[in-house]
Symmetry: C2
């Protein structure tokens, strides 16, 4: 269970040349980018506060090319960062100056749709929403729906175990896939998973899902599809007190109803969304809940009645059921556009992601309000309320000296707050680069060592996305020491690898 520090020697110029020469033989001419200008689009993912140019970008089109590329990198000791659409929010696809950026963007084919088994076999670069579009003629859809679903791709969804509005009822990515093909750093193809609920052997499918590109490169995904519910309807409830909205969430779940989606927004988010997309939200509410019921026609009718009753009993000042599909879509549009809407309130915003036990919501919100004052940075709140997954949006201006750093410090504090109340530092965005220090707060050295041992079972030279997702014990010691000495949490500058 040993592992060493992740600092690397720079590649020699001979190695770089050998790498480029070999890659030219593996991929077509347009599949290798080396000049600085063409590298720029790859310098960051959705966590744009962190930027680095990769040594080069390679865009294979065939699985055999991926195998050859990884085998080559393993031989030459070159780090590899795999990238889908680059919409990730935790820096999982941030490149290394001394490594290659392996784009899966050209693996964009849906290979097979099996309506009877309700599966689709797709390449990793297929967009999340494109799957649901392709299978719609069969009355089916793919359930996980991250806000970025128009753009994000399924390979990245698996790597980060993406969620979405509907994951309360339908689960995360890990619950909605059944097989993957993965290329190991040794260039070997692993077929992982099975057709049944259970599969024999260790659950490598779950292990790979959410592993953030640290264990292998995904080249094919077989997703599970669900029949489109006969009916879906959404109820909007307004509250004059966010704690009452939190109580309503608990009461709905306690009634044995699992809504298709159960989302909360606070005042700042409501007003921003309303100004941006005119969703029809009550601007003066302190909080709103959006509760979607889906299923058979009779089931939805019954649940709507019950949910409306619970919302009123919980003190909602207004309860509105969307009267038609247009209003349902408008209600959701406000929620789905909440991030960019809030983004209009300041030059920059930083989207956090953490999970807390539902019942701790009021005190966490109060503590966040205090932190917001202390750091002099506004926070808007959008939640997957049903599963306690928070998305605080910190508003800042990167051009004001020190403000980005203050934002990152505040973000770190919020994550530590989540851990302190018994929650976790991630809901659905992954750890990546962003939360690497908070992993030291979430886990003990023994658990971190076991993570490293598992990593070593797949990638003994630690070439796949080095330095992401799981901190070295050395890093944690430094982080912890600084934490203790200064009495305040600093967010260290981006480390060189």
């Amino acid at each position: 269970m040993s592992h060493h520090h992740s600092e690397r020697e720079p590649l020699s110029s001979e190695t770089k040349q050998a790498l480029i020469d070999a890659l030219r033989r593996i991929v077509p001419a347009d599949g290798l980018l080396t000049d600085e200008e063409s590298l720029h689009p790859y310098e960051c993912d959705g966590l744009s506060a962190y930027r680095r140019l990769p040594l080069l970008v390679v865009l294979p089109t065939e699985v055999t090319q991926v195998e050859a590329i990884l085998k080559l990198c393993n031989e030459l000791d070159v780090p590899v960062v795999a990238r889908g659409a680059g919409t990730g929010l935790s820096g999982g696809a941030l490149p290394f100056e001394e490594g290659i950026l392996l784009s899966l963007a050209r693996f964009n084919q849906i290979l097979d749709i099996d309506p009877q088994r309700r599966t689709a076999r797709v390449q990793p670069g297929v967009r999340n929403l494109a799957i649901s579009e392709a299978v719609a003629p069969h009355g089916l859809y793919y359930a996980p729906d991250p806000s970025s679903q128009i753009a994000c791709t399924i390979g990245g969804n698996v790597a980060e175990n993406a969620g979405g509005v509907h994951c309360l009822k339908y689960g995360l990515t890990v619950h909605n896939i059944q097989q993957i093909k993965v290329i190991t750093i040794e260039g070997e193809l692993l077929e992982i998973g099975g057709n049944g609920l259970d599969s024999a052997g260790y659950d490598l499918l779950a292990l790979m899902t959410g592993s953030e590109g640290m264990l292998g490169v995904i080249v094919e995904v077989t997703v599970k599809l669900l029949p489109r519910p006969e009916r879906a309807q959404v109820v909007l409830a307004a509250f004059d007190d966010i704690a009452k909205a939190g109580g309503a969430v608990g009461a709905i779940i306690a009634a044995g109803i699992i809504p298709g989606g159960l989302e909360m927004m606070d005042k700042l988010a409501i007003q921003a969304a309303e100004d941006f997309v005119h969703a029809g939200y009550p601007r003066d509410a302190d909080a709103i809940l959006l509760c979607e019921l889906d299923g058979t026609n009779e089931e939805v009718s019954a649940h709507i009645l019950k949910v409306r009753e619970i919302l009123k009993q919980s003190g909602a000042t207004e309860v509105r059921t969307a009267v038609d599909e247009a209003e349902r879509i408008a209600f959701w549009k406000g929620r789905k556009m909440a991030f960019p809407a809030v983004g209009r309130l300041a030059p920059d915003y930083y989207c956090m992601d953490g999970t807390i036990p539902r019942k701790r919501l009021p005190e966490v919100l109060a503590a966040m309000a205090d932190l917001s004052k202390q750091y002099e940075l506004p926070i808007a709140n959008v939640f997957h309320a049903g599963d306690g997954n928070l998305h605080p949006l910190i508003l800042y201006d990167a051009n004001t000296p020190g403000e980005l750093q203050r934002t990152e410090e505040l973000g770190g504090k919020i994550l530590e707050l989540c851990v302190a109340v018994g929650g976790t530092i991630t809901g659905e965005h992954g750890v990546g680069m962003e939360k690497i220090d908070q992993m030291c707060v979430q886990f003990q050295p023994l658990e971190l060592s076991q993570f490293h041992a598992v990593k070593e079972a797949f990638d003994p030279k630690r070439l796949l996305n080095p330095g992401k997702a799981v901190p070295t014990l050395h890093r944690c010691a430094e982080f912890g020491a600084m934490h203790v000495h200064n009495g305040e949490l600093p967010f260290p500058e981006l480390e060189r690898f």
Copy 2:
């Protein structure tokens, strides 16, 4: 990714004595069994065709004792097999003559029930059903319900990723737990999992679940609880053709209804169950379906109507909705007692476990009928029909020379049949000792090597349950070679380790 053959040198008598002396210092006097008579109850689990006496049995009562025992075994190179209630059906708890049997039976306390979070923190030796009984006053229950739920314990449920009648709707064990504490072979305590849907780091919770005692010893489990549905009702449908029953299963699922349970029984199973418990089944039917709907009152009413309609359209000769709770329980009693009921038809029976895609059901049943004739052994069929999990019960007489071997050969053929139609060799019983050779059919050497690499990340000396669950490549080579040369599948005699 290297690993070596699993044959072991016998322990020296000095080592044995050192082991016993040290164990006496770790556990109370009644916690160490060494005389042959007291070892006998531990010679097998539910797969009673395989029997072996352990070197000794140790029954700790404290987590610190488990830590010390494992540390000791690691130092002395002594294999360890952990055991819960011993109800497993694949030989996962079969002991080794040269190893210790570590019983978790005395860890039988429910440590904490949190009705608001809907969790219970329990020791591994707590019986599955005892959890639901303890949380019933809060209107909650623990969903996975293996047929052995009266006796089986939660630690074993996690080790085998147990399922049950309700796993179609509510998932396997892995979907119903949120944290575990595990002792590594080095005697260290790992806390795995988190409170949220997602958790940071690699998904070690899923990796440990179903790992059959190969990666660590579970000493605590935090399970998720569900609110008892307001109403549950069951519909029984009879068919004169098992293929029509299969069609009805597909039609129900296609209608967007996920029943709480959806079970099928064939003629032999129906008659055996009816003779045994008088469940009220139609004795002359070729197949029956039991379809349970649960949820809110309105939801169940609506679904019952729809399911009855689908069943009639699918050609059911009779459709009966249980009129009251007594009849509902009677319908389920027949199903839950199907194994012992079938067991009355012959001196012995062998319960198989495999999963197939739902649509391949008719051809798999036909092929099994052929195999039954070929091997001259009757097969009764009981299925978790909704998720394609088969439980063929082979009837035989262990006292007839050669009949057990023929049964095992037939069982192997059935599992290979499952793989051939795109299914898997396990649904919910695990691989253990029973299916170890079929793992060579299910997986390629690369995947098996990756399994061994993962094992090595937890247990480099391979002391935890050695030789179970994942075959050595050497074993697969032998198995494959014999398979090819004789044109027929032999089931090798139980290997010595």
